[in-house]
Amino acid sequence: MAIKSMFDLTNTLEIPPFSLNKNAKLELYSEAVQTLTRFHFENCQPYQKILNKIGFVLDKSHRLEEYPFLPVRLFKENELVSVDRSKIVKTMTSSGTTGQSVSRIFLDRATASNQTKALAKIASSFIGTKRLPLLIIDNKSVVKNRNSYSARAAGILGFSMFGRDVTYALDEEMRLDFDAVESFCEKHRNEDILLFGFTYIVWKYLFKPLRESGETLALENATLLHGGGWKKLFEEAVDNREFNKSLKNVCGIQKVHNYYGMVEQTGSIFMECELGFLHCSIFSNIITRRADFTECAFGETGIVELLSLLPQSYPGHIILTEDEGEVIGEDDCPCGRLGKYFKIYGRIKNAEIRGCSDIYT
């Protein structure tokens, strides 16, 4: 056991991923978050320094919203690890959008395995437990280095496990490989198939070439899972609805599920339901906050804080993202899934700079 006195995720892995109501979830999280916080406090020195200096008292019981969160940028500027470095089996990286610095997330075996299991549970509740033929809208070279994972590679590898006959739709130059895709479609003509890719890559390298060439693909039986953010698409004024409609036009895809997730909390992703809301699973939770960090009410846009039960090898169980979003409600989404459901509105906007330290523009 990598972590002594760590709460046991095994039980959680037994229950359906959208099955806990507010009270049941609170009970699970009260214990789990306290255990995780204590563990990281005792094993990650920078984390301990932060908690000590802000005067967080571990031995008191706290409401979930009172636990300290780490801003995601800290993972870029610091190596935050809570286990011996020799136990690290994978390092995940993500560039984000703030300059060249890269987040580094250190995974031990237990955390990596929990990520895979959680992802499997969440995804299979949408696409079933049967392995489906999988078409990945990306090129193979992204996943070459098996020790250092980009968020993109992690996504591809993570979802590859739910598929069979895994086929890459793009060649090394990111061109759509028509022959490969058509023969894949032909081969699985009468089956349910699964498509996976990053939102922007699906748009730029699948949808756009199809639209420009006027060709179509027979993907009526496919379910597309895509994630990774809307920043570039919002710049092109493409929203979720437009995205889904456009794809339906060129390849007949009916079922499209967007997901939202952070490299700091890989595995415990948030899936979009049939009604277009992102859902917390039993592995994750969301709190939105005002600028003064008080909690937002449902329906109020705030800074997104995310909780995950998975991070054991690094203190990423409660993070403050740089996204803004809105919690719509809890346990009462018409789709039937329990837990909080929400919308993400993208990155927090840049503010006007005040002061006389001018920039040379």
């Binding site: 200096k53 940028r73 600028a291 800074i303 927090i348 006007e352 002061g355 330290s357």
Partner: protein, 411 residues
């Protein structure tokens, strides 16, 4: 004898290029000019007219920064400055002064302009590119006053312009300048310094600076509620008003006296009340602020504790102050604090970067002694809490009017 001709500085006659990117906000295409004696009566009259016209305008009232500028230009203030300036020596303006003003402080350009004008110079002022209602109001007023016949001469030798960053235009102006006032960050200054200027051109550069504050605890504890409230508002104006980005906004508060804790308990909640009422903190700044707070907690072993008042007001109490304290800058309402019994305990942190020391509850002489007797390299401005942003002809250690004029040695 040949008739008297206007001398041509550096042989250049066209001071302002024909460039479609240049927008004239006030003044004229300078054709020729002659320096004035600093504080010449026509210059003073001109400023007084601007002041009273600005005060009359209803638009001005909505902008405290316009009012502050108008107030600065009023008769009593200018005459006081003149009196302080007169020392019996003969002086004239240097010639043409080029002002590069910050693009995100609306009225700074206007102060820069009047500093150049009062020193007896011809001026080309680059106003902020970004549009601010304050800039429009002030320029409109200056323009209308310049058009009065009695100010023909002043009109012919001053121009307030606006252009989006075109190195060519800045280069052109620089090539004809006898002095440049460069407001901006270190990087801006480095870039501008690379442009060539006449050999005797004087550059006054207002670079990135660091400022701090001292509060004497017993004096603070003696305040009644109203006075405390006022002090809190003054502190707010020095800091939050410009997100602590102004070079004279304090980042560090030094508590003097034995009752530090009691002082803090009284002062900060009062500040917080003002902040809650007045300050808008965008999400992005809230995250930025909290991120640097956490990074500080990781990096600085000198931190004793961190207190946050709902992320709007953050305080970092330091055990000791590192020599490179000036690299620790609070943003959007984040303050480092240090308890001292004697201000000399912080003399080691003061270097060339230190600009303003704001104070409450101590004598001026206590602070001037601190600077002079310790023979410090920094602190150019000692001013009560609430006046950190009040700019004047003594700024950043420069006596601007003397710097922008030449002294004629007569034996």
């Amino acid at each position: 004898m040949a008739e008297l001709r206007t001398p041509k500085l550096g042989g250049v006659v066209t001071y302002i290029p024909n460039d479609s990117n240049l927008i004239f906000l006030a003044g004229s295409k300078i054709k020729s000019f002659r320096p004035f004696v600093p504080f010449d009566s026509i210059l003073i009259e001109f400023l007084i007219d601007i002041s009273s016209e600005l005060i009359k305008r209803p638009e001005s009232r909505t902008y405290p920064d316009i009012m502050a500028f108008a107030f600065w230009c009023r008769k009593a203030n200018i005459n006081k400055l003149k009196k302080r300036f007169e020392d019996g020596l003969f002086r004239l303006g240097l010639g043409l002064v080029f002002h590069i003003t910050p693009s995100n402080v609306p009225v700074n350009f206007a102060f820069s302009f009047v500093f150049g004008l009062l020193s007896g110079n011809s001026n080309i002022v680059r106003a902020p590119t970004k549009s601010f209602p304050q800039v429009d109001v002030i320029c409109e007023v200056i323009k209308s006053i310049l058009l009065l016949e009695k100010y023909d001469q002043i009109n012919s030798m001053n121009a307030i312009v606006k252009y989006s960053q075109k190195d060519k235009i800045t280069e052109y102006f620089s090539a004809n300048s006898n002095a440049r006032l460069i407001w901006g960050g270190d990087e801006t200054i480095r870039n501008i310094r690379n442009l060539s200027t006449p050999e005797r051109c004087v550059d006054i550069a207002f670079s990135d600076r660091y400022s701090f504050c001292v509060i004497e605890t017993e004096a603070l504890l003696e305040l009644d509620e109203r006075e405390l409230q006022l002090l809190a508002e003054h502190f707010y104006n020095d800091t939050y008003l410009m997100d602590q980005n102004a070079c004279s906004s304090p980042h560090l508060v030094v508590w003097l006296g034995k009752l530090g804790e009691r002082g803090k308990k009284r002062f900060w909640p009062a500040v917080y009340q003002v902040v809650r009422k007045k300050y808008g903190l965008p999400f992005v700044n809230a995250v930025d602020k909290f991120t640097s707070l956490c990074q500080n907690a990781i990096d600085l072993d000198q931190i004793k504790s961190i207190s946050t008042h709902g992320n709007l007001l953050c305080r970092i109490l330091m055990d000791t102050l590192p020599d490179n304290m000036d690299t620790l800058r609070g943003k959007f309402g984040c303050f480092y604090e240090f308890d001292a019994t004697d201000i000399n305990q912080v003399s080691h942190i003061v270097n060339k970067r230190y600009q303003t020391l704001t104070y409450f509850g101590v004598k001026k002489s206590y602070l001037t002694d601190f600077v002079v007797q310790n023979r410090l390299f920094g602190i150019d401005n000692i001013t009560p809490i609430g006046s950190a942003l009040d700019i004047g002809i003594f700024w950043d250690g420069y006596d601007i009017v003397r710097c922008l004029s030449r002294t004629i040695n007569v034996k």
